[in-house]
Subunit: 461 residues, 2 copies
Amino acid sequence: MSADWFRRRFLPRGPLPAPRPPRPRTSPVPYRRPRFLRGSGSSSGTADASRRPDARPVRSPVRGRSLPWNAGYAEIINAEKSEFNEDQAACGKLCIRRCEFGVEEDQEWQTLCSEEFLTGHYWALFDGHGGPAAAILAANTLHSCLRRQLEAVVEGMVATQPPMHLSGCCVCPSDPQFVEEKGIRTEDLVIGALESAFQECDEVIGRELEASGQVGGCTALVAVSLKGKLYVANAGDSRAILVRRDEVRPLSSEFTPETERQRIQQLAFIYPELLAGEFTRLEFPRRLKGDDLGQKVLFRDHHMSGWSYKCVEKSDLKYPLIHGQGRQARLLGTLAVSRGLGDHQLRVLDTNIQLKPFLLSVPQVTVLNMDQLEPQEEDVVVMATDGLWDVLSNEQVAWLVRSFLLGNREDPHRFSELAKMLIRSTQGTDDSPIQEGQVSYDDVSVFVIPLHHQGQGHSSR
Amino acid sequence: MSADWFRRRFLPRGPLPAPRPPRPRTSPVPYRRPRFLRGSGSSSGTADASRRPDARPVRSPVRGRSLPWNAGYAEIINAEKSEFNEDQAACGKLCIRRCEFGVEEDQEWQTLCSEEFLTGHYWALFDGHGGPAAAILAANTLHSCLRRQLEAVVEGMVATQPPMHLSGCCVCPSDPQFVEEKGIRTEDLVIGALESAFQECDEVIGRELEASGQVGGCTALVAVSLKGKLYVANAGDSRAILVRRDEVRPLSSEFTPETERQRIQQLAFIYPELLAGEFTRLEFPRRLKGDDLGQKVLFRDHHMSGWSYKCVEKSDLKYPLIHGQGRQARLLGTLAVSRGLGDHQLRVLDTNIQLKPFLLSVPQVTVLNMDQLEPQEEDVVVMATDGLWDVLSNEQVAWLVRSFLLGNREDPHRFSELAKMLIRSTQGTDDSPIQEGQVSYDDVSVFVIPLHHQGQGHSSR
């Protein structure tokens, strides 16, 4: 993506063109649940009349179908918020082939061996909005994008430190020293590959949805194990935490209009035409009204962490670029997340104002060094969509995890049972630690990934 | 500053105008050392022939002149790097007057009492570059800007929580609830005032330097005590740390082309014309050369935390927007810091490419709650320009502080002596913990601010 492209795409000169009518050329993305749920029950995961909170089924893989690292998974559909479960999940083995540098003069890359060179594992959650299509496409696609991006740099991951040139041939004798001084490590290539894969997947989703005349977007939370490290990449408001006997460590942070206020306000400052005169980029404690005119009220602009007062002018009465607090915060009155995949066609209702320029598809990546961690018997990573975290805190989840695992040491299916129990805890059952009235009516999906005896050492061959 | 202003200022259409020749209208800013150093020695702080590292005098206030909170201060001029000591310092009492809301219909603000309403204290270090003028102007001006900004919001600082309206009159009965939900605290008004004061001071410096035909810029590190809290605001590569018996806590982080790479690269992505075709915004481990053409080399763009490989094109051979590592890293080959005051006229040598659009004057502010901290006898804040931190780590400084204070419990001038000792430690004297060859040849300035029995409770009246 270039700056020129950004301007052409989002800053048309002259009057804005009307949104293109959907032109179905390919068949719509069919609705489905994750493949690993096959055979796990009769429910198709679509709406039915009996969806009282306590009546919605909690689904998890059938006994005997094991997920990577014996991870547990469970999900529940929302309480009639939408026809479909807009969460999606994927997991599997990640097989990276090695591409070796050809000897031809044209210095093209060749796949000399099609066998796996590196293997890893992959778990992903996608929380869709505006329809299930984007999340389904992400679940079908992102792992392939990641595999491709990793294969493009895998040659650089062989050494302890990536070489300056992918060919390994130094142009300048001090190349290794420059790489060393910049502190570039193998894990930076995986982080870069994750960043590129999210962007590639976003482009694929944009093309596919346009071709099928569908709309929608999704968040993406991905965990990848590779060469003794666990990478957690997040774009959106899902969350992953590490739970150990005496530690609860967040492995991701949420990207919402509130947490990314300064970035979003700054873009509106640079390109005010993105707001089409309909919104104010300034933040106020509440939406202003006529009575506030001429008064000095609290406000924040893009460069401010603190607050100040400004004299209210007429333009301050416009609808705020970011409005509402906490779970109610919305970008352009429309979207609750500020990073994710898709949403290429999303516009503010009854306007031509686009959401996409304010959204990032690039994830934030954290790295867990499994060798240093020395995981113990009950150490797990819990990944879940926002439906879980809306009603349970990290500490409450950690408490549930620890007490469940301690009481179920012998059960080979305990991580799957734990995932189901976590889901049930969001539904206001008797043993749930959540406060009354804090039941989750959202789609909820959970992976529980046990770390003991996993991922240490390298699996390259 | 508006987006339009930014475009007019930095993105002229058509050929770039030649830089305006300096038109001295006012007399140049006279060189001086901080006022509180008067009478502290014969040295004027300018270059003289005897400036071997061990011969340069360490200056500190004369005995009997006490600084706020009995803080210690010391400085040393650089080893002939420049004619003048480009560091500057300021400290003093901060007297905030209360402005009360008038009863007139036009709702203008009136100063009803000119007496102090709130008092605080202020310590500031400015590290100049390109001449001493900007740092001197900042030392003369920033505290006045801050006082003015605080007085503009002081009425909002009276209550435990700032009111939605500065008048205190709610337009909407639930105003306090909105402020509460946004989590807006009194300290956010001080943070906002510091952010605005830095920007106001930057504008003053721009005007004054233009009027006097001078150039230059400076970093700014400020500590302010107010209502039981210590605020540390930083724009540049100076540093403040808290040293306690069993804790070393950074109170600031440095803003350099390296630490702000993504912000700087993103601006160049949005406005490629700022680079005038002379620089590449991409980061490589080293500057590329002709031999790299067509090869796949490590690189990073604005959206990447990780690294990837790209095929080198001709445009990648241009000089990098950010080049070099660590202390050698430079923005546009010119500047070692990415935040600060001044530099309005700074251009890349022999070009019209401006540095200013890439620089921020807004500081990052951290808050130390003195009541919660319960400072002990030897707890201090050490503020110093980069000359100190280039050769001493936080831990080394903490070790020097603790051992000095333990051994000098009875000396009423011990904080001043400690500041001098820290400066001497950068000069490679016998008792210095620095490694051989790591002597500082830079200007170095240090404040040591004791926290015991200070700043707790409020001094408003």
